[in-house]
Subunit: 354 residues, 2 copies
């Protein structure tokens, strides 16, 4: 179907397993990791040391990445100390955006994403990245100024990834313009927010290759999960509506997509993976759902290791098992099967014009 440039093709092949399913781990958390360490160490966030963040990232990377097809890390705390811990056959995704968001000088409750200062996609490629990940906060009903900023930011990364021929994995994270994301009211909005955001960024002008998406509903507020440990106590919809949202998301996404965990517990995440892959997702890119409790044991590194080797490894294996149901990326209608995937301008002279 669609031909694909050489670098993007090779990069996407590396991110997935041999059968085309993405089983990727995120350890690029910065703000949330520092907060988790502050809680574990009973300190203020500002007093958490760089060395502690780098150390726990190194441990998590060392022990868990052998389960992954790819690992996403950050250039600040992760990459310089973890690079030697990433197995040769686990692909490397590097984050482009600064952690968190800017909300000052922006319309109320709106969020602007920004790059890490002095960090470029050219540097990421030189450093060994097989793909680039960008997290963009997005609310389709934000002010035109905010929408334009976020769209331009995504477009910039798309252009740079095209220039360096690296796969572009775009992560979209919704937020509440009013109230909190931890409410039945926001849960009700979520399918619409996720699907409308996807509708925006599948536009070819953004040059996205893979979408990393929130689950397009909240199982904490789904009637059928009222006996689950994660149930919030009230329902926003029934499971049939959740499945419909997943289906609609898959119909909207003209690109392969994977599901993110947003720090939910592993039980809920496995349900998310099951439902998302039933609808056509190609796997997951998951961090905290797999390993978040490890941080609680820090600085007792023996206890951290023990948790990572036991429970976290089991979590990963369970997520991987759920992802066996995923749609191989090359089976996505964007590509149409392994026999149909080939490099663009395939010929005796491709390298001359490339």
């Amino acid at each position: 179907m669609n031909d694909i440039s050489s670098g993007k093709l090779r990069g996407i092949m590396k991110l997935a397993d041999t059968n085309g399913r993405f089983k990727m781990m995120a350890i690029d958390q910065r703000g949330s990791m520092v907060q988790a360490l502050a809680d574990a160490l009973n300190k203020d966030k500002a007093d958490v040391q760089y060395e502690d963040v780098a150390a726990i990232k190194t441990l998590i990377t060392r022990i868990l990445t052998p389960n992954a097809t790819a690992v996403l890390t950050d250039p600040i705390y992760g990459h310089p100390y973890s690079i030697t811990e990433i197995p040769r056959d686990v692909a490397l995704l590097l984050a482009y955006e600064e952690s968190g968001y800017v909300s000052e000088g922006v319309a109320e409750n709106e969020r602007l994403s920004n790059p890490i200062t002095n960090w470029t996609i050219e540097k990421a490629q030189r450093a060994g990245a097989d793909a680039i990940k960008l997290l963009a906060y997005y609310h389709p009903d934000a002010s035109p100024e905010t929408l334009e900023h976020q769209q331009a930011f995504v477009r910039h990364v798309g252009d740079e990834c095209e220039k360096h021929d690296l796969p572009f994995l775009l992560e979209l994270v919704s937020y509440a313009l009013e109230g909190t994301t931890k409410s039945a009211a926001f849960a009700k909005q979520k399918p619409d927010l996720v699907i409308r955001s996807v509708a925006e960024f599948i536009d070819p002008s953004y040059k996205v290759d893979i979408l990393k998406l929130e689950f397009p509903a909240d199982l904490k507020y789904t009637a059928e999960y009222q006996n689950a440990s994660f149930y919030a106590g009230e329902s926003a919809y029934e499971l049939a509506e959740v499945k419909e949202a997943c289906q609609k998301l898959d119909e909207t996404s003209t690109l392969p997509w994977v599901i993110l965990s947003a720090g939910v517990d592993i039980e809920e995440f496995i349900e998310n993976v099951n439902l998302a892959t039933d609808a056509g997702a190609s796997g997951f890119l998951c961090g905290r759902a797999i390993w978040k409790e490890a941080v609680n044991y820090y600085p007792d590194t023996d206890a951290v290791k023990k948790f990572l080797e036991s429970e976290a490894t089991t979590n990963f294996k369970n997520a991987n098992a759920a992802a066996e149901n995923a749609l191989p990326w090359f089976e996505h209608r964007q590509f149409g099967g392994p026999g149909n995937v080939k490099i663009a301008k395939q010929s005796a002279t491709w390298y001359q014009d490339y």
Copy 2:
């Protein structure tokens, strides 16, 4: 010991197996491949079609690379059709040099290497290369003009690899200034030629990361192999001298080195690997010794496949078994063990200056 930049470190990790041993396959032959196809098809070299060269390279890549830690291909016939055949966990080396050599306008019997027109290291990196390979013909007693040309060519590639932070694998191939390489006289010169060439290119100004070297002697002319199928009929030295040459080569090479096959038969190549790894080589980068007979069956692709799946696969497995004796690259005195390998300028701000 020596810190290493991020991209080169990640690239070298990918080229080797988990234990640091290189088991790499070359399928970047152009001149010799066209000649082999001409022989098989009973044609003139000029009448061999591009499509046939691409087709046999695709078959060899598809069937044999699952045995390799890395595959070396060329951008003309190999890459555009073979990229989808390279497993996600087999690293990709791309050749930089034009096949063959220029001998016109050059001192008698001397050889100049040149780049492929419209092909750059920047393009190779974008296309997904994990490392760059350059073949340079070299005779330390060539004229100053030839030496300077070859040295400048290697230095150019070293600079470009540094700029793009890709591992630079330099292949040195000796030749005869008088007479033929197929003689006891040349066999006698070989240890000296190989070792003196290594002595030149380990200079840090060339920025080489791994050397791909000829076996520093010729077992065809070694007394102890007089009963071997490959014995030439006369001897230039005894095995003890060959072992001494290997040892001296290893002492001279301040860089990890691998052995090439130069199209010898598999029996001889396995002996080369055994002797080279005994002396400290870190593995091999081997093409024709493993697969050359497959070309004889072309255009009968079923027969080609059958040979690749049976004999050639056995050849590869035997070479891999011999390479289990190799020195892991990180154990080379350049690096000093896995615990000592880390990225240069490792710190919280490495990405800012990188």
